[in-house]
């Protein structure tokens, strides 16, 4: 009797495991297939999408990647310039965003001031609205500041909008015990000194997390650059690639793949910090 039962149990376990794996594999395929297809398409010899044999290209070569960087003349297609634009905007936004978000989150976490609660709630609610809702308003504002078609306009928008998402960082700062600040206060440290010598060193994970997320957002953003950038030389990669025609599909694919590479590398190196940063605010140590 016992033997039969154990067989039953084993079968059941095997069945449920198989089901789990089946679901996971199915989801992975749906998720990964487009990426795989894009990567393969970027290695296609011919440019057009119609020369594919079924789903996948028939011939493979590095041509698309080479023309991506060398052919900068035709119809204002300047991939290297776009790449540098994107890099510039992302790096500057990353720096300013991080500064602003960390400062906001620290202040909200540590200090008490009038209207703190209303301020927090308003910021949170406003941050939930999708960014393109304010598109028209943003455009008009930028024209008045003369920042249309300027990278700094974009950087300004990205940086100043970033503190809306201060909640995760605030959660992290909440985990630093107040008694450490009190001990520092008794030890004679001013607020600035406390921030420099105690808070910042303890906040490495969350700073990296903030920097990483504020880097990737402008990197792949489409709407705002499309709205504000007019000259082909000022485009970011996202906007520029959209202008390619159908015949240049493999070049498009190559461009798309290439733009993803730096991010993938960054994530690989900083994944540890990412996770500790994301979960740091979750559970009180």
């Amino acid at each position: 009797m016992i033997k039969k039962n154990s067989k039953n149990v084993k079968l059941k376990r095997a069945a449920s495991t198989s089901l789990t794996y089946a679901i996971l594999i199915g989801v992975s395929i749906v998720f990964l297939f487009p990426c795989l297809w894009l990567i393969l398409a970027s290695f296609s010899k011919s440019g057009s999408i119609y020369s594919f044999d079924g789903f996948f290209p028939s011939e493979f070569s590095f041509d698309s990647f080479i023309t991506l960087f060398t052919d900068t003349s035709s119809s204002g297609y300047n991939y290297p310039k776009w790449f540098l634009n994107t890099l510039f905007i992302s790096v500057m936004s990353c720096i300013f965003s991080t500064l602003l978000v960390i400062a906001t989150a620290y202040t909200v976490s540590r200090f008490e001031f009038k209207a703190k609660k209303p301020l927090m709630k308003t910021t949170l609610v406003l941050g939930m609205f999708p960014s393109f809702m304010g598109m028209t308003a943003v455009y008009i504002l930028m024209t008045q500041f003369n920042l249309v078609n300027s990278h700094w306009g974009l950087i300004l928008i990205y940086s100043c909008g970033a503190p809306m998402g201060y909640l995760v960082q605030k959660g992290f700062f909440d985990t630093i015990p107040t008694s450490i600040y009190e001990a520092a206060r008794i030890d004679g440290a001013s607020n600035a000194k406390v921030f420099r010598t105690i808070t910042l060193p303890l906040s490495k994970p969350i700073i990296v997390f903030t920097a990483l997320t504020s880097f990737t957002w402008p990197w792949s953003d489409f709407i705002l650059p499309k709205l504000l950038l007019k000259e082909k030389d000022m485009y970011t990669v996202a906007v520029g690639l959209m202008n390619l025609g159908e015949t240049e599909f493999s070049r498009f694919a190559a461009g798309a793949v290439f733009i993803a590479v730096p991010i993938v590398i960054l994530y690989f190196f900083l994944i540890k910090y990412m996770i500790s940063g994301m979960t740091a605010g979750a559970v009180k140590e």
């Binding site: 015990p177 008694s179 450490i180 009190e182 001990a183 008794i186 030890d187 303890l202």
Partner: protein, 628 residues
């Protein structure tokens, strides 16, 4: 060298939650004072106010003769050890300990010397390069202590430092902290909720409950002479047994009776003489006896026959549980470990009557306590002149003269009241002696550090005029103003939770609410002023100490924003709005003997109603709702 003086300290949150009430304490240099009490009694809050981490709502704190109310923590010359150590996690121990000194710009070699010295004392020299996470709890606590030591403070503040340690480590660290105190010879102020820690470590203990100080005394005095039920049951494990008994005077002898017609114990004469008042005779009182004072053997006159219901063998002793009339809960007795008593035995329990305690049934105060004030019938014309000059109103009603037991002197001095005193008992409290006796046929209790033999003797006592106050016979309200506040000090009030004279009446005020009051007088004391006010509805007399500018701020938590003094008229203006609550045309100083002129109108900014109508409104509104 640092004395710490806390004067009339109040801490009120959100104008409603009174965390600390009227905290008065003088801590001598090199003392080890422990604040002890249940959770939420205000001990940590008081410590943090001394440290400067919390604002003081009202009152003064002096550290080493310097007023530190507004001083930053770093300038107060204090060090604090926190419950969770509060070490900087990303710094090595060396950096942790040097952080404070670096901020003070102390030269590096001196820092190094100090750290090495402190590490030597605490035994952590080889751990200096480690980070806190690489240390055990006990080691971390030592580092926290080390960080406090290197600052060379005047006062060490410790906030439950041993709570996060396991039991064995706690015992070890307890003795280490005590050793540290002896070595460093600095004032230590220690907060804990553990009565064992308090009893073993402190030179003096402050027992607190619900924001009020219950008793301040040495550990043994607190244990043997608790001032109320709370202190009696808080210290000592297992808790003191409390019985509801009747105090009966039968044929001149005093007895306590367990239940109706039950077992009687004779109260020894010398104990009877220690009673704070005879008015409790013939009433129900609470009789207390600690478990360790109930034995298997003793005086047959003080034994009760009981059935043993539960036995707990602790190894070093045996706890015996039974039921006795007058107590619903189990009565616990601590017997020797070798006792032959077994479960369900019927035995005699012998009470050690010398160690008895008696408490009043209504206010839980000990009947053997040293009272805060001695009340005597003394004719007013016998008193020195300056006493009646301090009086807040006409002394036409029947009055009593009152003074503190510690203010009784035995040597002649100027401007004193002389009385004849017959001492009937002298009880030794190690740090001081308590004398019981009669003065003019009335009971008088004195507290003195002088030596007296325990025998009946006649002496002359002298009380300085400044220490004498006059009280109304019916209500026991104080009728003379003191140098500072507390004019309505009613004895026994400290034991009642949440009831304090002036805070009851002065909570949050609404625009419509107001207080009808007459300003009786005001005293000028240099740059301060005492405002004596009588509330019309309740008749309570209150005194406010204010600073005298043209706009004066009240220093007590009464939430009057400003007092304007102009041409002899005084106006109290409420906080949060500019409505005038009391507009008084008070005048005169007591010593000028001018007519006390008190005309008060309630002035409402918007309507300018007259007093009668506003009176009516107040009656309609009823009591000031403190939850507003």
């Amino acid at each position: 060298m640092a004395k710490v003086i806390l004067e009339n300290i109040y801490k009120v949150y959100d104008r409603k939650i009174k965390a600390v009430n009227n905290f008065n304490l003088e801590i001598e240099d090199k003392e080890f004072v422990v604040f002890v009490g249940p959770s939420g009694c205000g001990k940590s809050t008081t410590l943090r106010m001394i440290a400067g981490l919390e604002d003081i709502t009202s009152g003064n704190i002096y550290i080493g003769d310097k007023l530190v109310n507004e001083t930053e923590p770093k300038d107060r010359d204090i060090s604090m050890v926190f419950q969770n150590y509060a070490l900087y996690p990303h710094m090595t121990l060396y950096e942790n300990m040097s952080f404070g000194l670096l901020n003070k710009k102390v030269p590096a070699d001196i820092i190094d010397a100090k750290i090495k010295e402190a590490a030597e004392i605490l035994g952590i020299t080889d751990l200096l390069e480690r980070k806190p996470k690489a240390l055990s709890g006990g080691q971390r606590q030592r580092v926290a202590l080390g960080r406090a030591i290197v600052r060379d403070p005047k006062v060490f503040l410790l906030d439950e430092p041993l709570s996060n340690l396991d039991a064995k480590l706690r015992v070890q660290m307890r003795s280490e902290i005590a050793k540290l105190h002896r070595k460093l010879e600095t004032t230590f102020i220690y907060v804990t909720h553990d009565q064992t820690e308090a009893m073993t470590m402190g030179t003096r203990i402050v027992v607190m409950k619900d924001g009020f100080i219950q008793q301040v005394d040495t550990p043994s005095n607190l244990y043997e002479h608790p001032v109320n039920e709370f202190v009696a049951t808080f210290l000592g494990s297992p808790q003191m047994n409390l019985f509801e008994v009747m105090l009966i005077d039968d044929d001149g002898s005093l007895y306590i009776e367990f239940g109706e017609g039950g077992k009687r114990f004779l109260v020894p004469d010398y104990k009877r003489r220690q009673l704070v008042s005879e008015e409790y005779i013939g009433q129900k009182v609470i009789f207390g006896m600690r478990p360790e004072d109930i034995d298997e053997d003793g005086d047959r006159n003080y034994s009760i026959n009981v059935d043993v219901e539960i036995i707990e063998k602790l190894g070093s002793s045996t706890l015996t549980y039974c039921h006795i009339a007058g107590r619903e809960d189990y009565t616990i007795a601590t017997f020797d470990a070798q006792t032959k008593v077994r479960l369900d035995d019927n035995i005699e329990m012998f009470f050690n009557i010398d160690r008895m305690h008696l408490f009043s049934k209504d206010d839980s105060m000990s009947l053997f306590r040293v009272p805060l004030v001695n009340y005597l019938n003394v004719a007013i014309d016998q008193l020195p002149d300056s006493v009646s000059k301090r009086s807040v109103q006409e002394l036409s009603t029947e009055t009593l003269v009152g003074f503190n037991p510690d203010k009784i002197k035995f040597e002649k001095d100027d401007n004193c009241l002389k009385l004849d005193y017959t001492i009937t008992a002298v009880i030794d409290h190690s740090a001081y002696k308590v004398l019981y006796g009669l003065c003019g046929g009335e009971r008088l209790i004195a507290k003195t550090t002088m030596d007296f033999e325990n025998k009946i003797q006649d002496v002359s006592i002298y009380i300085n005029a400044d220490d004498i106050s006059i009280y109304d016979k019916q209500t026991l309200y104080k009728l003379t103003s003191d140098k500072y506040l507390d004019c309505v000090l009613h004895e026994g009030v400290f034991s009642q939770v949440g009831k304090h004279p002036y805070i009851i009446d002065a909570d949050v005020r609404d625009k419509k609410d107001g207080v009808c009051a007459t300003i009786q007088s005001f005293d000028m004391l240099g740059d301060k002023m005492i405002l004596n006010v009588k509330l019309q509805k309740s008749g309570k007399l209150l005194s406010y100490l204010v600073n005298t500018d043209d706009s004066i701020y009240v220093t007590m938590p009464l939430y009057f924003k400003r007092i304007k003094k102009k041409n002899g008229a005084v106006t109290l203006i409420a906080e949060d709005n500019n409505d005038t609550i009391i507009d008084g045309a008070a005048s005169s100083r007591i010593d000028d003997n001018e007519e006390i002129n008190s005309k008060v109108d309630i002035v409402d900014d918007n309507t300018n109603k007259n007093q009668d109508i506003v009176d009516q409104e107040i009656d309609d509104i009823g009591q000031v709702d403190s939850n507003l």
